[in-house]
Symmetry: C4
Amino acid sequence: MERIEVKRITDVKLKKPILVEGLPGIGHVGKLVAEHMIDELGAKKIVEVYSSHFPPQVIVLADGSVRMVRSELYAVNSGKQDLLVLVGDHQSATNEGHYELTSAYLELAKENGVQRIYTLGGYGLGQLVEKPAVLGAVNNLALVEEMKRYGVAFKENEPGGGIVGASGLLLGLGGLMGIDGICLMGETSGYLVDPKSAQAVLTVLSKALNIDINMQALEDRAKDMEKIVARLREMEQTGMHEVASEEDLRYIR
Amino acid sequence: MERIEVKRITDVKLKKPILVEGLPGIGHVGKLVAEHMIDELGAKKIVEVYSSHFPPQVIVLADGSVRMVRSELYAVNSGKQDLLVLVGDHQSATNEGHYELTSAYLELAKENGVQRIYTLGGYGLGQLVEKPAVLGAVNNLALVEEMKRYGVAFKENEPGGGIVGASGLLLGLGGLMGIDGICLMGETSGYLVDPKSAQAVLTVLSKALNIDINMQALEDRAKDMEKIVARLREMEQTGMHEVASEEDLRYIR
Amino acid sequence: MERIEVKRITDVKLKKPILVEGLPGIGHVGKLVAEHMIDELGAKKIVEVYSSHFPPQVIVLADGSVRMVRSELYAVNSGKQDLLVLVGDHQSATNEGHYELTSAYLELAKENGVQRIYTLGGYGLGQLVEKPAVLGAVNNLALVEEMKRYGVAFKENEPGGGIVGASGLLLGLGGLMGIDGICLMGETSGYLVDPKSAQAVLTVLSKALNIDINMQALEDRAKDMEKIVARLREMEQTGMHEVASEEDLRYIR
Amino acid sequence: MERIEVKRITDVKLKKPILVEGLPGIGHVGKLVAEHMIDELGAKKIVEVYSSHFPPQVIVLADGSVRMVRSELYAVNSGKQDLLVLVGDHQSATNEGHYELTSAYLELAKENGVQRIYTLGGYGLGQLVEKPAVLGAVNNLALVEEMKRYGVAFKENEPGGGIVGASGLLLGLGGLMGIDGICLMGETSGYLVDPKSAQAVLTVLSKALNIDINMQALEDRAKDMEKIVARLREMEQTGMHEVASEEDLRYIR
């Protein structure tokens, strides 16, 4: 096995597609948004990426079958704006793998004529957030004003620790290749999978892409999550830490 | 030294052998089963695999001699069903080594005409198990029904964390090569070497392979282990943690 | 992307330049000095170094734009003594990367005719230091006496743990290439960014380079830092650990 | 810089030399013995080995000069038995580096016609040892009886965790090349640099090599160490943990 193997599933002709990345990260905000888009927009898988930089394991699916850890690229051939959506099971498990995998993703983007990338993630605040803002970072200063129009907030020196993983490197390495890149980060506690933060990010992103996307599914998940958080808070107050149901925990993990 | 070195010990002609993998893992369940099979079925070592991905150490044998950490492939040339059995001292110590070693094992499997692989492991529950079930995962959905007939349980989304190491990757990478793969996981506490769980796995496996295997040795070890567990529990109740004999500890480690 | 990519920004003809390295490290002493020199001496960026050995992230700037983690080489074309100044965001994140990056830095030094290197760092004492001394280490014993004349202290077997990272390897690998190297280490607590220690190092260095450098900016930062330390001490005495303002913390981080 | 660089210092003709390895390890037992032999036998340095697998730092010597981390091979051209002695600052910092460096050491051994290797180390017991025994392990069973004659103890399944690092791999990889290898491990607490354990190992080794070596220096260090241990014990009893002098600590580190 090569360190990175790109498996082409099908060919789709796209017109100036925009790449949206939602790999796993803080609060799984980016992943929730990107997978929601794939479902709602009827996206078609065009590429699978396998790599020995991923954690050495297989994913077990609900039906008992397994498959290799991988990233996947989907194509949306809609009327208004063609899209590529990048999702996956894991980020790289090695330092140089982050660079090599991002380069592979950018190679695929270039092949498909991508000139703009949105990378999606969460911005951990360490506490529950009532109304999550969406922070932005760009690889081309000219994009700041445009993003502000869609409701993106820019705060000086935030995130202070930089943007780690594919969401950051797609902007950094993409910029070196002349591809515009914007990272949208939904504020989140950082402790829980956060569909509410994902909603906030998707609201901004759909304006930016000028695409209508039904949000019901994300809203339902957000409501479920709020109930769980309420129950957790109650339990905390009554000292009943131990009684979270298995079902609750599946959401949290 | 190359990163992986395959040393051929002897040549054995096998007819459509099935590969059984029992490398170290949770509760050493897979290792116990595979080593028991090698002993009981008079298997013959055909290959040794050395690698700089293994931990940088030598194994000290009972007689004071040492040897390199390695994996070994054994052949069983029985009447009914030819087998290859893969055992070893350690899993890979590096991330990419897991992928490279598994590829090397699959290369050997392919050479020998393997069309089906059973990988064996433990499934850690975090508590002692009275009657360990055997969970399954497959790389080809068509195998689920067959496995259920042998007593394998399939639980939705378990194991949730995926299957880590060679037991997982042999299914994942094997599947990409068109080789059927089944992972059998015996429930176990995860804290102790568990011959009882190994018995449960072997019971299922011998049905699946349609081979009779004497289980006395595993049964004896399971009884020894039960005595030790009983003693540990007693000690726990009386607060005598310190008095486990050296002999006891050898079983636990 | 290659493991190390050297991007030339501009060409500057230098006469026997001396290389000054100030990459991140203990108390950010070296970084403070080197960045101060770049500002005060009107240095010109000539090279950027990118590498998959750096942490896999982008730096977010104050204006909301991002850029890849990198090292930078600046040229000072002054009247008295030409200089090259090496600064950067991070040291290598991998073991072999330290060696490979240092080799790349030395290659650039050699190209520019460098015959002497000063590497700058902090020497952590584990407690606040009133009057930080500047410790030295050299890759050529003949340099000890010269350095003592500039006020550098040499203490037997200090630093006992060796000098880690680029500051050490530039001396070690540089020495193998016949380039003289001196490491100047300002005593510092090791807990805080330390502009006072940086002042001490710069005082020695400007004597060694026979260059006048205005220190006002470093002095101002040192005074700010002293106020913060005084406040932290007060808080410690009154048990008010929690009230450090965000502004204070920015200095400490 | 290559991953491993072998620098030849001088050429010495040796007659069937035996290789003695004393790289850093538990209680620095092997290192103490090997460095003592180099001093007492007037050994001559013939090779330096540099590697990006070593920790990325330089060693600071007592005179303020630095040098790269390295291993060194010394030659003893005595009347009775020619020797090669391998010492160094550090073991490999990476997993595969252990294998690559050991291969490089064996390459040097082979060049010089080595047919037997003694690797030296400590065997940590977790408590202070009054009369340290010397445990053995061999890569050729025929050597056990010979070693017993020199006073080496062989205990079943000890060391249970195997022999880690160059001391182990020189036996393992050396054995694959047909070179006899013996590991001598002096019992030691594992907490302190242990010259008494080193004396025990050297006593056995000098019998095995049939060489007389003056042990006064090791004996002196052992006596110093005993005084320090006595003082530490006293301090422990009186609760005065804080007053160990700097000088004491230098021994312990």
